[in-house]
């Protein structure tokens, strides 16, 4: 089974859920409607032998503007990985349904995507930050993220914007 077979099967099964093909390099990807991603992945897992979810990650496109969640379900049966892209509005209200109930692997990946991009995953069993401290402000991998000057009394940059060196810490 090739990528085009998968794409045509998904297009027939979900005429409203599949928005089209995107000619990304090196492999093409499939654009999915945000509300349909859960049933698309469920169909791929149950009917198309995609047993594993290799990765869930995020991309920030400030030019579009959009936030994007990328899913990489993989199949040992077909020896292939397909990338599915879900475009969300570039706001703090970017929400998509969690797929943790389908793939356990999605749990930490979705937490990391939330931590770095602020994309919320509905029905996630443990929806909190995974890498940054829990009282961290902002989402670091967004393109417009500004590094804070202080975190809990500790200076973050080596130099402030005016060139003055930062000193001291939480002694």
């Amino acid at each position: 089974m090739t990528f085009d077979d998968i794409f045509s099967k998904l297009s027939v099964k979900f005429p409203k859920g599949v928005l089209g093909k995107e000619e990304t390099k090196p492999d093409a990807s499939i654009k999915i409607e945000p509300s349909a991603i859960h049933e698309v992945l469920k169909y791929m897992r149950d009917e198309l032998n995609f047993e594993t979810l290799h990765m869930v990650s995020g991309v920030d496109y400030p030019a579009l503007p959009a936030l994007c969640v990328v899913y990489h379900p993989g199949s040992y049966h077909h020896k292939m990985i397909v990338s599915l892209k879900v475009y969300l509005p570039r706001t703090d209200e970017a929400k998509v349904t969690s797929v943790t109930d389908l793939y356990k692997a999605a749990n930490w990946h979705e937490r990391e995507t939330y931590d770095m991009f602020g994309i919320q995953f509905l029905n996630h069993p443990d929806h909190r930050r995974i890498l940054c401290p829990e009282d961290w402000k902002g989402f670091p991998l967004r393109k417009d993220y500004v590094t804070p000057d202080y975190y809990n009394g500790m200076p973050v940059p080596l130099y402030f914007e005016d060139g003055a060196p930062t000193e001291g810490g939480a002694h």
């Binding site: 500790m154 080596l158 001291g168 810490g169 939480a170």
Partner: protein
Amino acid sequence: MGPGDNVVMTTMDDVLNWGRSNSLWPLTFGLACCAIEMMATGAADYDLERFGCGVFRATPRQADLMIVAGTVTLKMASRIRMLYEQMPDPKWVISMGSCSNKGGPYWQEGYHVLKGVDRVVPVDIYVPGCPPRPETLIEAIMMLQKKIRVQEAALGPLGFMRKKA
């Protein structure tokens, strides 16, 4: 120690410093890749035990020496401070590797990295390298031993050396 010092006191200094410098017990504490080199230093090839320094303790209550081996993230910094405060006096800190010295490769863009562990704990020896080879860490420990041997160990309340803030 100069002329006119109490003979007994100088002897106490020497004995205490000798004991302390030759039984440095480090905290089992690794943060990143530098910890791999620290483990290699403790293992058979480099054999830190030759310097009385190979007893890595799993609790700060029994440790004299904290080797900050690796990237100090802001999340970890407050934990490092807590571990340091849990160690009994006298205590020493070695900052191992570029990351804990001054942020390392994260010095400019690292939003999550503390730019030098000396911002949360006082550091005695800085070890350069990314990561430093085990020989470098051994040299740092020998430098620290030299530093301990000239300390005025018997000063301060109850004869315990107090770190000057």
